[in-house]
Amino acid sequence: MARFSPANLERAKELLSHYPRPKSATIPMCHLAQEQDGYLAEDAMGHIAELVGCSNAEVYGTATFYEMFKFHPVGTYVVGVCTNIACLLVGGEELLDHASDSLGIRPGATTPDGLFTLEEMECLAACTEAPCLQVNYRYENKVTHEGFDRLVADLRAGKRTDIPRHGTLGGVRQSIPADRRAGVKAI
């Protein structure tokens, strides 16, 4: 799909200005691209390679190392159920099992309507809130099976405006005002 839009190109350039070396902006830029397209498109990686000054293969090599980057379209909502030890002990597998049945897909798959992608996740750092899951990395704690079905219904009904479409990382971005900048020294 797409290279950076003019607005995102500006954001990408600000990211470059945060680091002593351009390549350090690779991962944040991949997030930006995924925010733009919902997944990490080839053209976007090409654009990032140009901006950080390395080859397409180098950006690809970095991006594919990290689980959050998807290389083809996924559901609007990526539902990640934790089954790691703390959740396992209090019903994580049961929750994944239930999610799989009620969405009618196996982990890794996307519902035909393109709304949901189900994933089995490792520890989400919410162990005291187990069993837990994330929708586009937004936490849902101590999730019961009924709670899961309600969540899915609400998402379908568009009631969960607090959860943006997949790829959106943070609602607030760091931006360093020009007059407050100490000045990053290139190295």
């Binding site: 080839e42 990686m45 390395c54 080859s55 397409n56 293969a57 180098e58 950006v59 690809y60 090599g61 594919t64 190392f65 990290y66 689980e67």
Partner: protein
Amino acid sequence: MTDIAAAPEAPKKTTLTVTIDGAPIEANPGELLIAAAERTGTYIPRFCWHPRMSEVGMCRMCLVEVSGPRGMSLQPACMQPVAEGMVVDTKSATVKKAQDGVLEFLLVNHPLDCPVCDKGGECPLQDQTLTFGPGESRFVEEKRHNEKPIPISDLVLLDRERCILCDRCTRFSKEVAGDPLIHFINRGNHTEVNTFPDDPFASYFSGNVVQICPVGALTASPYRFAARPWDLDQVESTCTSCAVGCRVVVQSSGDQITRLQGVDSDPVNWGWLCDKGRFDFESVSSPSRLSAPVVRAARGAAAEKVSWSVANNRIAAALRSYDPSQIGFIGGARLTNEDQYAYVRLAKQVLRTDNVDAQLGDGLTADAWLGFPRATIDDLGTAGAIVLLGPDLKEELPVLFLRLRDAATAKRVPVVEFATGPTGSTPYTAASVRYRPGEVAVAAKAVAAAAAGNPAERQIGGAESDVINAAGAVLAKAMAAGKKIVVVLGRGSMAEQSASFVEAALSLRDASSHTVVLPAMRRSNLHGALDMGMSPGLLPGRVTQSEGATWYAAHWGSTPTSVGLDTMGMLAAAAAGTLKALVLLGADPLADCPDRALAEAALSKVEFLVAVDTLPNASNAHADVILPAAGFAEKSGTTTNLEGRVTALSSKVTAVGTARPDWMIASELALILGVDFGYELVGDITADIAAVVPTHAGATPDALGRSANADGILLPVPEVALELLGVAPADGAEASDEPAVPTLAVPRPIRVRSTEGVVPVPDSYSLRLVTSRVLYDLGSIVQSSPSLAKLARPATVRLHSGEIERHAMHPGDLVRVVSQHGELTLPMEADDHLPRGVAFIAWNTSASGANMLINDA
């Protein structure tokens, strides 16, 4: 007071003592344990470590026990610098278990399809498994599955199932070649090597990854399944695809060359080869090889196969009928030193013509080659600065480009480049001086001035003043440090006077007495050709006719007395009808002379045309006699690379048909013409050269055979040019009739015609032509190597898109390119890296090439 004698200084110990398996060894500071151990006879198994690349410590195969503060511990020998008193155990039970364990892990997902694997028989993984490896597999689960070999480039295939992720190919592509087009992707157990989607590993050096892959994961399409390693039999030789002279082993199976592998020659190629050198052996067995002598009753008549004696007698008879000044020899820069010496004797001793030129008007004068203080390839890495004043090394001398890249990146030697547009080296330059075509000498003068403290205030020769001054600063720094400035000198554009480049080099030499020159000409043995006297006015040993007269009179009996014509002169004379017989030695003037029209006129007008060659080409197609020559790997001898290093060439397969080595052809003709050189074997000539040609005194066959000379013999090229004189016997000593051995004298001045102002400043609508070589062109060798032929890009004329728009045209449109000398029709290609006002056409990429447009005037 009493004098106390100072205690004598104990000699400082420069090595470290390390104990390996109980035995003390001496290691060098900074040396890695794995290397020190191997050097002293203890082989530590490894997969990821490669001596020419940075260490990554990934495969963990080299784990050994090393003493440390907390006792012995397992450490990767490839990441361990030696330390004084270090104790190492490479055989303990712990080590054995760890290594067996690693091996087992590597085999867990490895298909073990050795019987059908190219690498089978020469596979480190297979060897390790047989030597140390565990028995039957304890891994009962399903192995990782991947699509079988996928092409990652036109020449290389990747089988990800066999890959053990040693990071060698990926490291090579980034660290050595600078083409990071393959990379690890995904993570953990899903890690694989791959390219970016639809972005192939298009590198001139891709074949090297096949050679360094420790398993059969990477295979070359020109080799795959061609032969099994165990029925390969091999000899060491030298690549003759260009003048770098990379050392290789040539492997054959059933009298067919199947593969070339780079040999790690420290002063030259470090084990690397370019893909052209690695794969153009395909041309040796090309169906289009010339395999039998043919003659024509008359020009245009049908060619008929004849015996060698018929052909040779026909040639001898014809040559006899002309007087020396009417005979000319063109070419020979790709032959062995022995071939060249024999031809020079045939021409200059037997036929007494001095019309001999190994270059085709596309090179530098012999003076420029031999007159400058000389640099070696190794000098690149230690120089204070490098100046690129010639062709795009990546296109013409690829492995020299790798050495340049290493100097610039690993050794941080600053590089200044003179170019009309971006080259493969541009990314590694401190300053890329972009001169207006034709004005390189002016630009160089400006840089020299800046280095001397007179910065440029304005654009000079088209180059921006700040770039000129930046370049000047680089040189000034090197000069201040008293370090060498290595000028890599060649012909940047065939559309430009060779004299301009020489003049540019002269201004740099005048700027610093530490300037040394590395001649960058592509043909593999041009250096040998000039050493052997294949240039008008020269005799073997880099002496002029007059200088060498006495000496060679004594050895040969006779030498020419007047200076002959160079190639352009011979062609002009032939076109004018004054030169009647022309012998082409593996030469294709139509493709290579910077004046196509003249070459055409000459070849059609000359009375008697002989061609000795391995493959047909446009120039030899109509010759009256065509003799088939033995080519690469079909004959042995010696060759001399661009730094003056003589190395051995070995024959590996029998020559096609009745093809013969050139030295034999020359000797035969000489014999028929009445002179017996007495050469039975090629070694006789090597010995004769060593005995007669002073510059080659050391290069005897047995000297070349010594292991101490595995990297060849670097000819003495003093920092001043050689000039040979017959020295009169010293007073008192009675005159002997033996001519004294020539001795060293003052450098010969280099004659160049100033080019300043020669180039007319064109009106705003005409463009300046730049034409230089690309690696894959229409050269007969590339074209008869199927794997490479398909890589040659169709000819275009490249222009800045602004120029294209200015003429309201579009990329792809056909345009007529017109010059004072001719015209040419080609599709346009936009290239915004080119400056406006310039048209670039790659040399010899279309049947009627860029040389249609120029002449050498």
